[in-house]
């Protein structure tokens, strides 16, 4: 498929140099897919951890289930090396 750009409402085919730049952008974007998926996962994980930070206050003793829940959240990215693995992650159930 030949690429084109639109400048002032006119379709203009990309030059060879512009096509090369587009190829590089697409390669860079594809290479960063796993990092972007992991970023989304970490944001959600960090949010869930924050919601249970109060469990660790000095006037509260965490149950073993609570400790396991937080550890499972902290470890949730361990061993993830592919996009498919990240997409298959299931978050632990909050006790």
């Amino acid at each position: 498929m030949s690429r084109f750009k639109i400048v002032n409402n006119k379709k203009i085919p990309l030059t060879a140099e512009e096509n090369k730049i587009e190829d590089q952008r697409e390669a860079t974007h594809e290479a960063g897919k796993l990092d972007r998926k992991l970023h989304h996962l970490r944001v959600k994980r960090n949010n869930l951890l924050e919601q249970t930070d109060w469990w660790g206050t000095s006037d509260n003793t965490m149950t073993d289930e609570q400790k396991k829940y937080r550890k499972d959240l902290r470890d949730i990215t361990n061993g993830l090396t592919t996009v498919e693995e990240v997409e298959a992650v299931e978050f632990p159930t909050k006790p």
Partner: protein, 197 residues
């Protein structure tokens, strides 16, 4: 002359008038001018380089879908040259599941003005972006923007943020919208010029 030729703040000198003589003067900057609307379907980028001379510009995009899970980016055009470096920006997405987030990397090559679009055909994005150069020449042009739509992790989100070019100088005389990768599947972008007072 017919009343339609008279604007609220002046007269359209490009019109034909039913009297003889010379009409002169540069006229007044119109309050609100629709400069162009572009249908970007299939395009790698959408540029506006004939933007006239206005104190403020507003860009509005709608029904934007993309061929990949990508962000929408903006570059300034200064003196006819596309600026490809020296950008600083920040974008934050407010997500319906409460897990708000910002872009994890900060590219200096362009401004992220619409974060992490979903690539489903039903996930249409809309947003607006504002730019001012009231003094005509500015050293660090900046924009602020707002986008709403579906993110590529399945949540609905509103992205807000700002961007600045620390390397561009002079008058901004064009804007270029592009994606992190791929092409616009659908979408229109409109450009308006707006007078300050």
């Amino acid at each position: 002359m017919t009343l339609v030729k008279v604007r609220s703040r002046g007269i359209n000198l490009a019109d034909t008038f039913a009297f003889s003589g010379t009409v002169s003067g540069a006229g007044d900057e119109a309050d609100f001018v629709h400069i162009a609307t572009t249908n970007g379907a299939g395009a790698s980028s959408i540029s506006f380089t004939s933007i006239g001379s206005h104190s403020n510009y507003m860009m509005y995009w709608r029904d934007v879908t993309t061929s990949g899970d990508v962000s929408l980016y903006l570059r300034f055009i200064n003196g006819g040259t596309e600026q490809t470096s020296g950008y600083r920006w920040r974008v934050k997405s407010l997500k319906d599941d409460g897990n708000d987030e910002g872009a994890q990397s900060q590219s200096a090559n362009e401004i992220n003005c619409g974060y992490a679009f979903d690539n489903a055909s039903s996930s249409k994005n809309q947003g607006s972006l504002w730019f001012s150069q009231i003094s005509g020449t500015i050293t660090e042009p900046s924009v602020y923007f707002d986008n709403s739509g579906k993110m590529n992790n399945g949540t609905f989100a509103r992205s807000i943020g700002f961007g600045t070019s620390v390397s561009a100088g002079g008058v901004v005389n064009g804007f270029k919208f592009l994606l992190g990768s791929g092409t616009f599947t659908t979408g229109q972008i409109s450009l308006f010029g707006i007078k300050t007072t």
